[in-house]
Amino acid sequence: MPNPETPGFLTAADGTPLHGIYHAPAGKAKGVCVIAPPLFEERKSAYGGLTLLARALAERGFGAFRFDFRGSGESGGDAGQRRWNHLVEDLKTAGDAARQLAKDVPVTLIGTRLGGTLALAHSSAVNAKAVVAIAPVLKGATEVRLWRLRSKMRAELSGKENEQTNAPSTTKGEILDLDGFPVAKSFFEDLKPVDLLGASQQAAIPTLVIQVSHREKASGEYERLQEQLGAPARLACIRALPFWERVDDADVSGIAECVLEFVTQLITDR
């Protein structure tokens, strides 16, 4: 049996209800981890893997708080109105909640894909003591292009391309239909300048970046990211299929071990 898992709702500063689940460890938590998910189709596919990661953390004595950004999962809010600053606000709300759930212990922010990008860029908003970014989106503009391409591909494969007027996404006013997910056009505009490789800020807290791919060694882009983040940053390369792209047979054991080693070391070093 997994450790107790308690679902509930938080309220963001603007009143938006956010859904979260707290995985409690047995006894006092050694630390607490806030788990920021990806968005869109990746959020759905990552759900199982991130649940397993949260359970693994709880089993090793860490509290783990999973949540849904506004406009996704069971959270409230309109996905078509969501902007980048809303995600930062939601991250902060989740961090505050985690701090209440496990008092007086350090908070580690763990983000996957776009959640990882947010974690790296906005850990200070959460006052996190450490960050783990799993396969963060490195360049927003590239990701937007690939999302649109993927959307067109899925429409073609499902025979729905004509329903979408041969476009990768339909436009209704300022809202795009990205493969069934409403997205504010302005959200894409928010995302395009996001460039982790172009940022000049070094990491101020212990940081672990995990590349998950077919590779045995990290790619040049990830090595550049580590170099840029500076001394507090570690880079790990896990050879595995990306769990945020697979609903079935998602194996997160290697990633979970890597994360556990990192958060355990943080406690040891305190």
Partner: protein, 90 residues
């Protein structure tokens, strides 16, 4: 890779990136990757990303159609359209 046919390079890339439990030479140039080998959109996207990383070819949604990615031969055509020297014998 430099001395191989482009089609063979693409097969190697596909098997490696998708971590398929098969040998690249099991794939024929004209095999329908979706019908015969069961590739899905996620895997086709991985090929798109692979073309960017390995061959420096950046595709926008206007450049893309599933047909262009259904076979190794078609993917090779996409690459050669953008880089006529790709896969040339060294």
């Amino acid at each position: 890779m430099a001395s191989e046919r482009l089609e063979d390079q693409l097969k190697e890339m596909l098997v490696e990136r998708l971590m398929l439990k098969m040998q690249p030479n099991e794939i024929e140039d004209a095999d329908d990757l979706i019908e015969k080998w069961g590739l899905e959109s996620v895997q086709l996207m991985e090929i798109v990303v692979g073309l960017e990383e390995v061959f420096g070819i950046e595709l926008g949604d206007d450049d893309f159609s599933v047909k262009k990615f259904r076979t190794i031969a078609n993917i090779a055509s996409v690459v050669r359209e953008r880089d006529p020297n790709a896969g040339a014998q060294s």
